[in-house]
């Protein structure tokens, strides 16, 4: 007889739900078709709680917690959508848009961009903050791909997929705070780095920051779903 599964019962948005111990609020919510917006989370990768879009309210806890890393617990009462949370989420998105140069109209990811989609679903109509319009590099040194740091939101999906799935760990984050930037190797040009040319980072990038050179105009759908299939095939999960 197998060991008993440790089941936690909780309430999300007034709905009685249950999950296994160790599951995150995000996982259980999505299993129950309760939507929580995310950007840095991707099924098949570890979670880092970087984007803060999945913040939820938990009764009795006086701060907001990211649903992608907060584990479910017995008797928890979770609110995933409140006026306060919507305001926080929109502000986070405004900060992302103001931080770098996101020009949807001429972006290769236009229409296929997760940042754009989340902004639409969260009802973001204006950015109230002044745009910082930083001067950031575009790295076209790779024979197949381009990194445009203007469009990077530092979700670190590329870093995680390269380290955890491809096993190459070419990508990493350099610098602190507002000066953070993703780099290849020890800040080598991508084209002369130890990149294996697998293209996983391009597929998981939620914006047009990493893109395929052969895709121009606005014709760059991305297919991050390959990760789950890959993990199943490798019996990693």
């Amino acid at each position: 007889m197998s060991a008993a599964v440790d089941v936690k019962t909780l309430i999300i948005d007034g709905q009685d739900v249950s999950g296994r111990a160790g599951q995150t609020i995000l996982e259980v919510a999505r299993e129950n078709n309760i939507p929580i917006p995310t950007l840095c989370h991707l099924d098949g990768l570890s979670d880092v709680g970087a984007c803060r879009l999945c913040l939820v309210e938990i009764k009795g806890v006086n701060k907001l917690l990211p649903a992608c890393v907060a584990a479910v617990d017995e008797g928890m009462e979770v609110t995933t959508n409140s006026e306060k949370l919507q305001k926080y989420r929109r502000t986070i998105l405004e900060l992302l848009f103001a931080e770098r140069n996101h020009i949807c109209a001429v972006c290769v990811a236009n229409g296929h961009c997760e940042l754009q989609s989340v902004a639409q679903t969260q009802g973001l109509t204006h950015v109230r903050l002044p745009y910082r319009t930083p001067v950031l590099p575009v790295d076209p040194s790779h024979e197949r791909f381009v990194a445009d740091h203007n469009r990077c939101i530092l979700c670190s999906r590329c870093v995680r997929v390269c380290a955890e799935v491809e096993g190459a760990h070419v990508w990493d984050v350099m610098g602190r705070g507002i000066d953070s930037i993703v780099i290849t190797d020890l800040n080598e040009p991508w084209g002369s780095s130890s990149c294996t040319r697998c293209g996983k980072c391009v597929q998981v990038c939620p914006t047009g920051a990493l893109f395929d050179k052969s895709k121009v105009g606005t014709e760059h759908p991305k297919y991050p779903d390959f990760l789950m299939n890959l993990n199943v095939m490798r019996e990693a999960k």
Partner: protein, 473 residues
């Protein structure tokens, strides 16, 4: 006492412009300036971007003729890639460019200029607009709207978007034409013919009413520049440039895109953000030339399509040599539209038009590229320089409206001298000064690569520069 008259803003133009007229003590107009008052900086802010983003980025200059920029930009990029695009892609782009010419010319002729032509230059400004036209002559107004839709709908069918389609890319286009779309375009063609023929017949009836305007609307000898094919037929997308003089002699032939800047320079005047291109061997301003429908028809010996050729023969009868009066831009525009419809129909019967191979790929094989195409208003040139990885180092655009800039300024002076007496300003006089600009169908946003409000304004200045009178729209 001398004075300066300012028309600010000038109405029914694409972009924001201003006219300043200076009179002498007797109220006679001495000087005229057509000023374009914006700057946008496209040539600068594209620096550092990958070159293959240029078509979609540069097309944002204009919502009326984005396709011209897409085509010229893609051609400049293809020069950098050193590729020849597949035949089908070239034909599809040619069709897209013609569709855009048809819609843009329809906008110019029917929406912006037909109110003057139908209702008269002196008509009440309250009714002198497209809705006034629709009320006074519904067939004309409706035909214009339908013709514009014809062009716009083809652009949408081909590129999935009416404005700024992302379909044109360096190397060709992103997706081939489907049978269903081809048949939908073919089904629209008979109505388009009917509409343009109606407009041509109507125009020929009313044109005798404008004898004075024809004489004074930028009617002077000048050079003309435009694309032609090797068989001397009119061309919008490929071919080579030809420059002719006011007698019709070829000054320079077979100018390819890469030779554009060897032959043409850009002068700057302090009063406008639009530059003044000129033919280098003749210098500025003697080397100033005109582009656009009038220039194209003056240069081409044949249209290459039967119906438009009949019209071209009639057009050429207007003058022994090249037609010099800019009022005839209107006529030339309608002939262009007729040619566009015929050519679209012909392209759609190309047996290879549904071919699936519509894109060539390559990296950076040259670090400099030029692209030339005919925009509705005339020749358009994009010139790019990139680094060895393909990031933009430099861009220069020479826009049709800029090339007509000197002619527009001369035209404003000529018309103002005929119609304006500085002692008394009347709407009809001012409208004629604006109408001479409208014959060129200038796109001020393109020419400055600028943004701003639509309208144009006239200012009357004393010799000491103080403002005596002003009319705003």
């Amino acid at each position: 006492m001398s004075q300066t008259i300012t028309i600010d803003p000038v109405t029914r133009l694409e972009g924001h412009g201003k006219i300043t007229l200076k009179t002498d003590d007797n109220g006679a107009v001495q000087e005229a300036f057509f000023t374009v008052t914006q700057v946008r900086g496209f040539e600068k802010f594209c620096e550092g971007r990958p070159f293959y983003e240029m078509p979609s980025l540069m097309a944002r200059i204009c919502g009326i003729c984005p396709v011209s920029h897409l085509v010229a930009s893609a051609k400049a990029c293809e020069a950098i890639m050193s590729v020849e695009i597949p035949h089908t892609a070239a034909q599809l782009r040619r069709m897209l460019n013609l569709a855009q010419m048809v819609q843009s010319h329809s906008l110019s002729f029917f929406y912006l200029s037909s109110p003057d032509l139908l209702l008269g230059m002196d008509a009440d400004p309250a009714v002198r607009h497209l809705f006034g036209v629709v009320e006074a002559k519904p067939e004309l107004g409706r035909g214009g709207v339908r013709l514009r839709r014809f062009g716009q709908h083809i652009i949408e069918l081909l590129g999935n978007k009416r404005i700024h389609p992302g379909w044109v890319i360096p190397g060709g286009v992103t997706e081939p034409l489907t049978t269903a779309k081809r048949d939908e375009i073919l089904a629209m063609i008979p109505e388009a013919y009917a509409n343009v023929k109606y407009a041509l017949n109507w125009y020929k009836q009313i044109v005798p009413n404008f004898k004075d305007e024809i004489e004074s609307f930028a009617n002077f000898p000048s050079l003309f520049l435009g694309l032609v094919n090797e068989d001397d037929s009119i061309e919008f997308t490929d071919g080579a440039l030809r420059l002719i003089d006011a007698e019709g002699n070829i000054v320079k032939d077979g100018i390819h895109a890469a030779q554009f800047e060897d032959n043409f320079g850009e002068a700057v005047e302090p009063y406008s953000f639009v530059k003044f291109p000129y033919y280098k061997p003749l210098g500025y301003p003697e080397g100033s030339y005109r582009v656009g429908p009038l220039a194209r028809l003056n240069i081409a010996k044949t249209m290459g399509t039967p119906l438009a050729d009949e019209e071209l023969i009639e057009f050429k009868k207007l003058s022994k040599g090249p037609v010099l009066g800019s009022f005839h831009y209107h006529y030339a525009r309608l002939v262009d539209i007729l040619y566009g419809i015929e050519m679209i129909e012909r392209i759609l019967t190309d047996p290879l038009i549904l071919d699936k191979h519509v894109r060539a790929t390559a990296g950076v094989n040259r670090q400099e590229g030029f692209g030339v195409a005919e925009a509705p208003r005339g020749t358009l040139m994009h010139h790019y320089k990139v680094d060895d990885k393909g990031l933009m180092l430099y861009a220069n655009l020479i826009i049709a409206t800029g090339q007509n800039n000197n002619a527009m300024n001369r035209g404003v002076l000529q018309t103002a001298q005929k119609y304006i007496n500085g002692k008394k300003l009347e709407q009809g006089m001012l409208n004629r000064v604006e109408a001479v600009i409208r014959t060129f169908d200038p796109c001020l946003s393109c020419s400055t690569h600028a943004f701003g409000q639509m309208p144009l304004s006239i200012e009357l200045l004393a010799p000491d520069g103080s403002r005596l009178d002003e009319i705003h729209r």
